[in-house]
Structures are given as structure tokens and as C-alpha cells.
Amino acid sequence: MDAPNLIAAVQALQPDATVRAQSDRPTLIVPAHALVALATQLRDDPDLRFDLLETHTAIDWLEEDRFELLYLLTSVPHGHHLTLSVSIDRDAPLVPTVCQVWPIAEWLEREAYDLFGILYDDHPDLRRLFLEDDWVGFPLRKDYEDDFMLERPE
């Protein structure tokens, strides 16, 4: 399925989804409360069959005071790609988990929690993945600072 058909097919499933501008591959902005239902439909719909969550990551939009969560999906049987984008409040970064839809999301979400501090509702095992368990703070946030970091002298 090519990009316009894909976007139309997903928007038929979820009318609230809007197209994200400036994206290399078809990207749809989805409200957080509709994420799990849409993800399940994307995986199970015979025409879409998005059976692979390639990666999941976050972007810290500090000026706009929000986190953008990206879910890069691929359909192995059909060979098409789709990205879902979910924006959440930076002060209360809570989003439902998609572990039940794609099991790999468990570790990808742990990584996003580790580095951005995003909280996943219903996640079975939300712990740090890369950093030490007693690490304080979330280093990929744009406003992260600690005593160890060194500023480049001008």
C-alpha cells in the first residue's frame, strides 16, 4: 500500500488521526487515549498487518513543553511503513503501554523511561535499562544537568 492509501486507511480506522508535516515516511499524529486501540487494529487488520514495531523513541520539545513519542511500524507481509506520533505533556508524561500489542515494546519503553523519564501505564516491568538503578534524572531531556558534565570552554 502506498503512502496516501495507507494514511486514508488508517484515518478510516481512527478519524482523530492527523497527518504530521515534514516527515520522510507516512506519519500520523494520534491522541494518547486512542493509541492502544489503534495499535491493535493496525496489527490485526488484514490489509495493514503492522506486525513489527521497528523502534520506539521520544523527542523532547522543550520550548513547546511536550514530549513527542514516535512508534516506527513496519509490515513484513506487505512491506509498508508507518510512523505514529503521540504528543504528551512534559510535566506529566504518562502514556498507555503497547506491550500487549508488540512485546518488543517492553524494552523499548524501558529505554525511553530510562533516558526521557516517560511513564508507561500498565507496563509490566518499568525499570531503568542502560543506566544504573540509582541514577538520578533522565539524561536525554534537554534541561538535564548534573555535576559530572563538563561545559565546553569558549
Binding site: F130, L131, E132, P139, Y144, D146, F148, M149, L150, E151, R152
Partner: protein
């Protein structure tokens, strides 16, 4: 080796001329140590490709310097080559590996990351700025990553340090660390010549030596 290095100086020193003998034993031990450095199989990033694979493979051939027997266990290794970035989470493991190695143990820091943190020096929340913040380093080999020639220069520097700087009279004491950068104006030909000279001191037999040595060859060979 433990018995020799621990007991021998005490036995030899009181004898008449024993001091000279200890020095001779020193030279023998240092020679064997410097020519049989067993590196630990330890690499944390791209320098490991250069140091462990490129230098170990046939073209550059680490075996020429007796340091090709990479050991996967720190108990059997005596050279720790820090090849790559050391992050906060790796630091305690690196320290443990170092502590597990038997003395005498030698440490080479190869590449910018292991020397000072390299490109991750500023604004990094996790990169250790230099492996010498964790363990003592004997030889620094700069480069990003260093060429195999640069690594060999560092290895030869370490061998020189071992040969000249250690004595079983003072076990564990060593000469100060050396920056093994190539001196200004040194070319690849100079390096090749130095390696050639070094190798010729070992077991290589030249035509002149062979003829001078005995009656196995006719004198006509001298014309070569």
C-alpha cells in the same frame, strides 16, 4: 616466576658478585616479560577493531612482537589494552578486570576516548574522561582510532619500559608513563626501518652472519 622474583634477590645478594648476578637475572626476566605480553581480550568500541583485529591479522601481525596471545580471562593476561570509550557503568567492571590481573600487569590506553574522553569529553553525562581516572596507565597511544603502526609504536615503547625500568629488587616499581606519540617528522619508512632493526636483533639470520658463523656455506656467498 613467583618463587624466582620473590626469593632470588635475597639468596643472591649476599653472595660475592651477587649484585651483578641479580642484574643479569633482571635482564633475562625483563626480556622474557617484554616479549611475551599476553593482552586481555577487552574492547569497548571502535578502537578494538583497530587494535584487536587489524593489528592481530596477517597484514600487520601482532605476533611479531609476541603479543598475539589474547586471553579471554584476566587471570591469564598481563597487558590490558583499553581500546575504546569507558562509560560510568563500565568503570567498576574495568577496575575489577584490572584488579584480577596478576602482577606484573601493564596498561595501554589507546585512542582519544581512553586518554581523555575524546569527542565525548564535553556535555556527556556518562563518559569517563580518561581511563587513568580509574586505573594507572603505562603507555598512552593517541589516535582516533590509532593506526596499527601507532599501536605498535606504543607496544615497543612498553617493551622498552619493561626492559629498562624494572628490577626484581623493587617489584611493582616502574618508570613513569610515556606518551607514545610519533615524534615530529617521523615517516613510515623510519618506522619500518626501526622495526626491521628491532627484528634483526632477534633470531633473524643474515647472509653475512651465516657465512661468518661456520663452514656450512661456501665463501662465494659473501658476494651477495
Amino acid at each position: 616466576m613467583g618463587v624466582i622474583t620473590d626469593k632470588l634477590p635475597g639468596v643472591l645478594e649476599p653472595l660475592p658478585g651477587g649484585s651483578v648476578l641479580v642484574t643479569a637475572v633482571d635482564q633475562l626476566i625483563n626480556w622474557s616479560r617484554s616479549n611475551s605480553l599476553w593482552p586481555l581480550t577487552f574492547g569497548t568500541s571502535c578502537c578494538a577493531i583497530e587494535v584487536m583485529m587489524a593489528t592481530g591479522a596477517a597484514r600487520h601481525d601482532l605476533a611479531r612482537f609476541g603479543a598475539e596471545v589474547a586471553r579471554p580471562s584476566p587471570r591469564q593476561a598481563d597487558l590490558l589494552v583499553i581500546a575504546g570509550t569507558i562509560v560510568k557503568r563500565m568503570a567498576p567492571r574495568l577496575r575489577t578486570l584490572y584488579e584480577q590481573m596478576a602482577e606484573p600487569r601493564y596498561v595501554m590506553a589507546t585512542g582519544s576516548c581512553a586518554i581523555c574522553g575524546g569527542p565525548f569529553m564535553y556535555h556527556s553525562y556518562t563518559t569517563i574522561r580518561g581511563a587513568d581516572e580509574i586505573i594507572p596507565v603505562d603507555v598512552y597511544v593517541p589516535g582516533c582510532p590509532p593506526r596499527p603502526e601507532a599501536f605498535f609504536y606504543g607496544l615497543l615503547t612498553l617493551q622498552k619500559m619493561i626492559k629498562e625500568g624494572e628490577s626484581i629488587r623493587h617489584p611493582g616499581e616502574r618508570r613513569r608513563p610515556v606518551l607514545a606519540a610519533l615524534p615530529e617528522g617521523m615517516t613510515l619508512d623510519d618506522i619500518r626501518k626501526e622495526m626491521q632493526d628491532l627484528l634483526s636483533h632477534d633470531a633473524n639470520v643474515t647472509m653475512a652472519d651465516a657465512v661468518a658463523d661456520g663452514a656450512h656455506y661456501s665463501a662465494e656467498l659473501k658476494d651477495f
